[in-house]
Structures are given as structure tokens and as C-alpha cells.
């Protein structure tokens, strides 16, 4: 059996691959239909397709493209920004496995007052996850990171400090 998240991300990649320019063209039923059509085929073909799709995800350049596409794909079409719950779900899907700090970031979002994520923040989250080390040692205050990420760093540093203090007790 294929793990659930992988099914979801595969759908995203499919949408991206097949329809990068026309967002929202695929409705959910159509997707499921399309996917089940693939499933209907032989199991080997599915496996093969999944391998191929997996390889796409491992390529940083293509991944970035998918990630960016995901924003427009997942947001509510009359809004410019994505609501926070959708953002959390999408980020879990996309970054949950590969970004060490993701669980912290998720918790940060939970306790923050942010109700939406805009595109600039979205894109910078990926950049952040790729350039800043888990111990935040190379985080630059002048780095023109969106304020949400500055706040995340402050929040994380405070927590780390508390943990050190607790550990030393």
C-alpha cells in the first residue's frame, strides 16, 4: 500500500505536471477519477509512475516549482492569501519530512495570531528551510526575511533558551 500523504503529494505533482499553467482546471472529483484510472491499470505501472514522480520531488529545482504552484493551487480563489489551516496542511505535506525545524514551525503557527499566509511568506518559508541551519546559527537579522520568519526565529530562540535553562537545573 502506498502511504496516504504520498497519494496526496502525487496528486499535486500530477496537477503540476499536466496543468502547470491552468490552475484550478482539475476539480477534486476529476482528480480522484484520474487517479483511480491510473490505479485501475496494472500495479506495476502504478509503481513505475510513483518512482518517476518520486524522482521529480527529489530534484530541488522542480520541487521548488511544485512548491510554488501549490500555493496558487490550494488557496481560495477569491483571496490573495491562503488561510492558515490550509497552509499548515500543505506545508506538512511538502516540508514535513525534509525540514528539520518543520514541527517547531508548525507549533509556532498554531500559537501565533496569523490567520493567512501570503505568497511572499510562502516562498520565503521554502528558502528559509533550505538556507538556515537548524540551530539558527547562520540566521541573519538583516536578511530581509518576512516578519513572520523573524518572529519564528525569536520564538524558537526563546524556547531553546528555556530548554537550556531547564536542562541545567
Amino acid at each position: 500500500m502506498v502511504p496516504f500523504f504520498f497519494i496526496q503529494i502525487v496528486m499535486l505533482v500530477l496537477a503540476w505536471k499536466l496543468d502547470a499553467k491552468q490552475m484550478g482546471f482539475f476539480t477534486l472529483p476529476e482528480w480522484l477519477k484520474g487517479f483511480s484510472e491510473i490505479l485501475c491499470d496494472s500495479v506495476e505501472k502504478v509503481q513505475g509512475k510513483l518512482e518517476y514522480l518520486r524522482s521529480i520531488l527529489n530534484d530541488p529545482v522542480q520541487f521548488k516549482s511544485i512548491y510554488r504552484y501549490a500555493f496558487d493551487f490550494a488557496r481560495d480563489k477569491d483571496q490573495r492569501s491562503m488561510d492558515i489551516d490550509t497552509a499548515k496542511a500543505m506545508l506538512t505535506l511538502l516540508l514535513g519530512r525534509q525540514w528539520v525545524l518543520y514541527s517547531c514551525f508548525h507549533q509556532f503557527l498554531e500559537q501565533s495570531k496569523y490567520r493567512v499566509i501570503n505568497k511572499d511568506q510562502w516562498c520565503n518559508i521554502l528558502e528559509f528551510s533550505r538556507t538556515i541551519l537548524p540551530d539558527l546559527s547562520n540566521y541573519d537579522v538583516d536578511g530581509a526575511w518576512p516578519v513572520i520568519l523573524d518572529e519564528f526565529v525569536d520564538w524558537l530562540k526563546t524556547r531553546q533558551q528555556l530548554h537550556i535553562e531547564v536542562a541545567q537545573m
Binding site: 490573495r80 492569501s81 511572499d120 538583516d142 530581509a144 516578519v147 523573524d150
Partner: protein
């Protein structure tokens, strides 16, 4: 060498002897003996019987016949012998008895004789000395004196000790032979022969060293007096004394070094101690207005590196403490009264300006320090902009007591100085508009000229953007006057009289005047309302496309009131009832709200608070204020009475007309209960509006800059924006960043793909 005859041919009495080409040794020796004797006679001060010409000629002869060396060496011997055998001995003998005088005498004698010796041997100086690169006669004499006499062990040390002792004595207050010291110092200078090394080594260096020790001890003594002003005066006296001493009888070149020593020992090492001395240092002086003492200290500390800095730091910390105390909200200090608040600050500034001018000589550094201190504490209290505006408001209103026009002008100029220190000038602008509007509408300005004068001052500081709207306010007032003229003509033509209402309308252009969130409600009584409707029709007929909204919170009304005498109270014993017979008429000046309230009593005798509220539809806060001023003020202001007679107003309380109302004036103005300054919730609201405006201003600045430059790095952009806005307020980098993000979202800006720290302008 060829024979030359310099004598005229006509003078035949001269016989020119043929010059012998060689000279035999005996002849040379005899010449030398002659000269030697002469020199010795000179040294014995017996030069009276000598012939200059003869001696010169003999010396000349020797040199001419190439015996210069013999002459030179001989000279050296004679001089050395004399100095060693005669002079040095006598000086040594005088070590404990008239030493300095003896030495000085020996020196003077030596100089005199060397001059004479030099003169006779001048030819040797010019020819032999030059050709053989040896020291000339006079210098040779100096060197021998220096080496054989002066630097002879005992003499050298004793001289040094003597001179130092004499200086020390004089420092202690004794009288010493200054001439002798001067002579000795000059001798040392001369003996350096084109340098001052002898003087320096033999005297100056040990002198400076000893002086340093002396002053070190003296400084402890002075400090023991525990008074900064006394210390300073003593140091100053010491400096003068040492300078005078050096100038007079040491060598003049010692003046600066010795002053340097004094400064180092007495000032440099104890700067902080003096400045911070308790009960007499800088702070004490500032507290007690000791302008002169401060001036002395300033002058003194200016001499040394870091002196003024120590002093200015102390001044600064004291000033900051004083200023902070004035602006910090606390029970003791009156920070609730804006007029006093600002006046206190102005007084503080005056005090320190006085110090700056009288004590610190308008020193630039001190000026800067004082300015930055004021900027620091003025902005600690966020209400400063509001209070400053209220202060100016107070001075521009009618009835400013006790100040002439020039005095008011002066105060306003000083207030502008404080204004410059404000960091949140945009907040000030908002309040100034509000207060100006009130002054104009309630007709409280002293004069249009003084208002315009103030505005031009602000324009100079802030630019036209600030003042253009204010000028619009003035224009509205003028136009309203014209409109009213036309309206009066219009009614006359109509033959109406507005049911006896004398109506005056001022039309305000929305953009110029401080905005209200929404116009408060108020039910206007019939008669005035109808009059207004007539005006409204008239106005809109002239200016179609406009909208008029009545602003009841800003208007005022004059009411004709009749009070129907007092009812005799039970137990009243007064028989002076003149005023109680018959109805009394007054004209009462009230606000629009109060008019609405009062006119209700034409229909009913008694009304509860609730009923009044329902009928007039006035908001609770305003209603309470109005009723307080009508019913709970002074007796001469009490148009209404309330049951029960307490200070609080509850919905069930009953109001009625105070028929016992009396006043000496026919025309009675009801003072509104107005708080100076805003209440805290109002302040919050203003602050919100300010923040909103700032968002727009920041975004406008960002767009302006990016449009011009097209591409910019994040940090550079933040700096530019801050720079552009700093005359209005100080935006924090975080807030600017948020605005940038907002603009990215709305697609005015974008990050460049290559470098996310660089933004581009999106056309």
C-alpha cells in the same frame, strides 16, 4: 698672498714695509707670547693698557704665516688653564658661600673676556677656523667653560640643587634672588650652543620632575579642602604663578612644559574627582546656580584633554535626571497639567541656556549635549506632542493674562525649540489641527495674525505639507462670512425672519478640518432646525453636488431666558428679596447640545436624565458633561437644578429649571466642563489614527523611493525610508519591513529572483 696697498698714493708719509715671506721661529714665538700675555691680562680684567690694533695685527700675522694652528692650540691652553686653575677653584671654594653669585660672576667675566679675545682673534676665526672646520673662538670658550667649570662634578650638582631649592622656596612664599636664577638659566641656554640641551639636562628636566612631585602633594592638600570651587581657584592661581615665574626668570621656553606639568598633576589626574565632588562639584553648582564657579571650572578643564568631556557628561546626566523627573508621570510632579508641564520644560531649557551662555561660553559640544538630552527625555513621555500643542493653544487664546504681544512671541519661539526635539511630529500635527479648529470655531483666537504667525513658524520647521490644510481652515472661515452676508440678503428678499432665529452658519470643508469618525447625533429643536433647513436649501442651490452635515458638537447658541422669581423657602429669614420679585431676563450662551437640553424645559417643568437622553438623542458622555455644567457648577452658572442634589448623575435623577437663578451679568456664559487634553480612551483613538496615517506615509515613501531607483537592497531601502520620514516620526525597521511585505503582496514591489534581499519596482 700678494701685497696690496690699500693706502692712497698721494699720502707719501706712509712707508710700506716689504712683507717678510717667511718668519723665523723666534719671531713667531714672541708674537705668541705677546698675545698670550694679552689674553691673560684680559682674563684678569686688566685690558685697559692693551692696544687692540696691535694685538689684532699680531694675530693676523700669525695666521697669515700659517701659524694658525699654534695660535688656536695656544688659545685653548690659556683659556683652559685660566678656567681650571683660577675660576673653577674659586667657584668650588664658594660652594657653601655665595655660590650662585660667584658662579654668575665667573660666567659674566668669562663672557666679557671671550668677547674681547674673539675680537682680537677675529682673523683667525674668519680664516683658520673656517678652513679647518673647528669651533670658532667664542664657542670654544663656551665649551671649555661648560666642560671645565659647569660640568665639573660638584659644581654641576650644586648648581642644580641651588636652583631647585630657590624655586621651591619661592613656591612656599619666600623671596628669592630672581636675578641670580635668571642669569644662571641664561648661562645654561647659551652654553648649549645652538641647542637647549645643557639647559634641559642640567636644569629643566630635574626642575619639571621636582615640580611634578610638588604639585602632586599640593593636589592632595587642595583636595582636602573638599570644595571644587576653592580647588579650581587655587589651581588657577598656581598656573598663573608658574607661568609668570617661567616667563620672568627661567627660560621662556619652559613656560609651556611647566604649565603642562601643573595641568597634569592638578587637573588631569583629578578631573573626575573635582567634577563629581559631593556638595561642591558640577551638580551642586548647577543646582545652586553657581554660574561663575561653573565658568571657572569650564575654563580650567578646557586646558586638558578630556576635561570638557568629563564635565559635559556630568552636566548631561544631571540634566537628564531633571528632565526625566519633569516628564515622568508620578504623584509629586504635576504631569497632568499640560501648561505647567511645558512651562517647566521651558524653564529648564532657559536655565541651561543661561549656563551654556554664561558658563560654557556657547561651547558647541555642550550645546549638542544639552540638545540631545532634551530630545531624550522629551520623547520619554508620549503625551509631549499633545501637551506642547495645548500649551501653544493656551497662548493663542484670548485672555492670555499678563503677557504682552512680544512676550507671547518670545514664548512661542522657545516652544518651537522644544518642538524641534519632538520625534513624533506627526502626532503634534494632529493635535494642533484639533486645537486650532476649536479655537477658530469657538472664536477663541487672540487674533488671526498671531495664528498665522505661529503657522509660518511651523512651516519653516516642517514644510508646506503641514500648513496647507491649516490655511484651508482659515479660508473656510472667510468664505463662511461671505456666505452669511449673502444669506442675510436672501432672507430679507424672502421677507422671512426665520421665526426670530438669528442664524449663523460656518461651512467647513471636510478635507481641511480634523475628521470625526461620524457626526454625532442630536435632535435639534424645531425652530432652529427649520431655520437651518432654509439655509441648507439656500446653500445647496448655490453649490449643487455638495453635501452639508450639521456638526452639533461644534456649535453654540445664545438663548433668551426668563427666570420667574424665587419661591420662598421654608425657614428663610432673609428679607432682602429685591431680586426675587418679578421675572428676571438673561441671555445665556450655551453649546448646541445645551440648547437642545434647555429648550425641552419650554414644554415640561421636570425631566429625568433618561427622558432628556431620549428626547435629545445625545451620546451619554457628552450628555453628562453638558448636564454637569448646567446643573452642578457654580451658583452663578446653575441654570438647572437636580434632584437629588449629589454630584453623580443617574438615569432616574430629575432636572428642572433653577428659578432662583441670579447673576450680576445680563449675558451669562455657561462654561463647559472641558478636560484639558484628552481622556485616555480618546488618546488611544488618536494613537490608532496616527498609526494608520503612518502606515500610509511609510508606504508612500517606499513607493516613491522604489519608483525612482527601480532596484534596491533591503537595508538600503530601510535606511532611505527612515531618512525621508524622520522629520515627521521615527519608523522602526520592523514596521517598514511589514509595509514592504504589504506592498509585495499588492504587487507594487517584488523580490528579484537572483537575490531575495533585493527588491524591484513593479510598474
Amino acid at each position: 698672498m700678494s701685497l696690496k696697498s690699500g693706502i692712497g698714493k698721494k699720502d707719501t708719509k706712509m712707508r710700506i714695509r716689504a712683507f717678510p715671506v717667511t718668519m723665523d721661529e723666534r719671531y713667531v714665538n714672541s708674537i705668541w707670547e705677546l698675545l698670550k700675555n694679552a689674553i691673560q691680562e684680559i682674563q684678569k680684567k686688566n685690558n685697559g693698557g692693551l692696544s687692540f690694533e696691535e694685538l689684532y695685527r699680531n694675530a693676523y700675522t700669525m695666521v697669515l704665516h700659517k701659524h694658525g694652528e699654534m695660535l688656536y692650540k695656544g688659545l685653548r691652553h690659556v683659556v683652559t688653564d685660566h678656567l681650571v686653575i683660577k675660576v673653577r677653584t674659586s667657584v668650588i671654594m664658594s660652594l657653601n658661600n655665595n655660590f650662585l653669585q660667584t658662579l654668575n660672576q665667573a660666567w659674566n667675566d668669562h663672557q666679557t673676556s671671550m668677547v674681547m679675545i674673539r675680537d682680537i682673534l677675529m682673523y683667525m676665526d674668519r680664516v683658520y677656523v673656517q678652513q679647518n672646520n673647528v669651533d670658532n673662538v667664542y664657542n670654544l670658550g663656551l665649551m671649555i667653560f661648560r666642560d671645565q667649570v659647569l660640568h665639573h662634578g660638584q659644581i654641576k650638582d650644586h648648581l642644580q640643587q641651588t636652583l631647585l631649592d630657590m624655586v621651591m622656596c619661592e613656591r612656599k612664599g619666600e623671596v628669592v634672588d630672581r636675578g641670580a636664577v635668571k642669569n644662571a638659566c641664561q648661562m645654561l641656554m647659551v652654553l648649549g650652543i645652538d641647542s637647549r640641551t645643557v639647559y634641559e639636562e642640567d636644569f629643566e628636566r630635574p626642575f619639571l620632575h621636582q615640580s611634578a612631585e610638588f604639585f602632586r602633594l599640593e593636589s592632595q592638600k587642595f583636595l582636602g579642602e573638599n570644595s571644587a570651587s576653592v580647588y579650581i581657584k587655587k589651581v588657577e592661581a598656581r598656573i598663573n604663578e608658574e607661568a609668570e615665574r617661567a616667563a620672568h626668570y627661567l627660560d621662556k621656553s619652559t613656560v609651556n612644559p611647566i604649565i603642562g606639568v601643573v595641568e597634569k598633576e592638578l587637573i588631569c589626574k583629578h578631573m573626575k574627582t573635582i567634577v563629581e565632588m559631593e556638595n561642591s562639584g558640577v551638580i551642586h553648582m548647577l543646582k545652586n546656580h553657581k554660574t561663575e564657579d561653573l565658568a571657572c571650572m569650564y575654563k580650567l578643564l578646557k586646558r586638558v584633554d578630556g576635561g570638557l568631556e568629563a564635565m559635559s557628561q556630568c552636566v548631561s546626566s544631571y540634566l537628564r535626571e531633571q528632565g526625566k523627573a519633569l516628564v515622568t508621570e508620578s504623584e509629586d510632579v504635576d504631569t497632568k497639567n499640560p501648561i505647567n508641564y511645558v512651562q517647566n520644560l521651558l524653564d529648564l531649557k532657559d536655565r541651561f541656556d543661561h549656563f551654556l551662555h554664561e558658563s560654557f561660553g556657547d561651547d558647541m559640544k555642550f550645546k549638542q549635549v544639552i540638545s540631545s538630552d532634551f530630545e531624550y527625555f522629551l520623547n520619554l513621555n508620549l503625551k509631549s506632542p499633545e501637551y506642547l500643542s495645548l500649551f501653544i493653544d493656551d497662548k493663542l487664546k484670548k485672555g492670555v493674562k499678563g503677557l504682552t504681544e512680544q512676550e507671547v512671541e518670545l514664548v512661542l519661539d522657545k516652544t518651537m525649540v522644544l518642538f524641534r526635539f519632538l520625534q513624533e511630529k506627526d502626532v503634534f500635527e494632529r493635535y494642533y489641527k484639533q486645537h486650532l479648529a476649536k479655537r477658530l470655531l469657538l472664536n477663541k483666537s487672540v487674533s488671526d495674525d498671531s495664528e498665522k504667525n505661529m503657522i509660518s513658524k511651523l512651516k519653516t520647521e516642517c514644510g508646506c505639507q503641514f500648513t496647507s490644510k491649516l490655511e484651508g481652515m482659515f479660508k473656510d472661515m472667510t468664505v463662511s462670512n461671505t456666505t452669511m452676508e449673502e444669506f442675510k440678503n436672501h432672507i430679507q428678499a424672502m421677507g422671512s425672519n426665520l421665526s426670530g432665529v438669528d442664524l449663523y452658519v460656518r461651512v467647513l470643508t471636510t478635507g481641511f478640518w480634523p475628521t470625526q469618525a461620524s457626526s454625532p447625533k442630536c435632535t435639534i429643536p424645531t425652530t432652529p432646525r427649520q431655520a437651518f433647513e432654509i439655509f441648507k436649501r439656500f446653500y445647496l442651490a448655490k453649490h449643487s453636488g455638495r453635501q452639508l452635515t450639521l456638526q452639533p458638537q461644534l456649535g453654540s447658541a445664545d438663548l433668551n431666558a426668563t427666570f420667574f422669581g424665587s419661591k420662598k423657602e421654608d425657614g428663610a429669614t432673609s428679607t432682602l428679596n429685591k431680586t426675587s420679585s418679578g421675572p428676571r431676563k438673561h441671555i445665556i450662551q450655551v453649546s448646541t447640545y445645551q440648547m437642545c437640553i434647555l429648550m425641552l424645559f419650554n414644554q415640561r417643568d421636570k425631566l429625568s436624565y433618561e427622558e432628556i437622553q431620549t428626547e435629545t438623542d445625545i451620546g451619554e458622555k457628552d450628555l453628562i458633561r453638558m448636564l454637569q455644567s448646567l446643573a452642578l457648577g457654580k451658583l452663578t452658572q446653575r441654570i438647572l437644578v437636580k434632584e437629588p442634589k449629589c454630584k453623580e448623575i443617574e438615569p432616574t435623577h430629575i432636572f428642572s429649571v433653577n428659578d432662583q437663578f441670579t447673576s450680576k451679568l445680563h449675558r451669562v456664559k455657561i462654561q463647559a466642563v472641558v478636560a484639558k487634553g484628552e481622556s485616555d480612551p480618546e488618546r488611544k483613538e488618536t494613537r490608532c489614527k496616527v498609526d494608520e496615517d503612518r502606515k500610509h506615509e511609510i508606504e508612500a515613501a517606499i513607493v516613491r523611493i522604489m519608483k525612482a531607483r527601480k532596484r534596491m537592497q533591503h537595508n538600503v531601502l530601510v535606511t532611505e525610508v527612515t531618512q525621508q520620514l524622520k522629520s515627521r516620526f521615527l519608523p522602526s525597521p520592523v514596521i517598514i519591513k511589514k509595509r514592504i511585505e504589504g506592498l509585495i503582496e499588492r504587487e507594487y514591489l517584488a523580490r528579484t529572483p537572483e537575490d531575495r534581499k533585493v527588491y524591484t519596482y513593479v510598474a
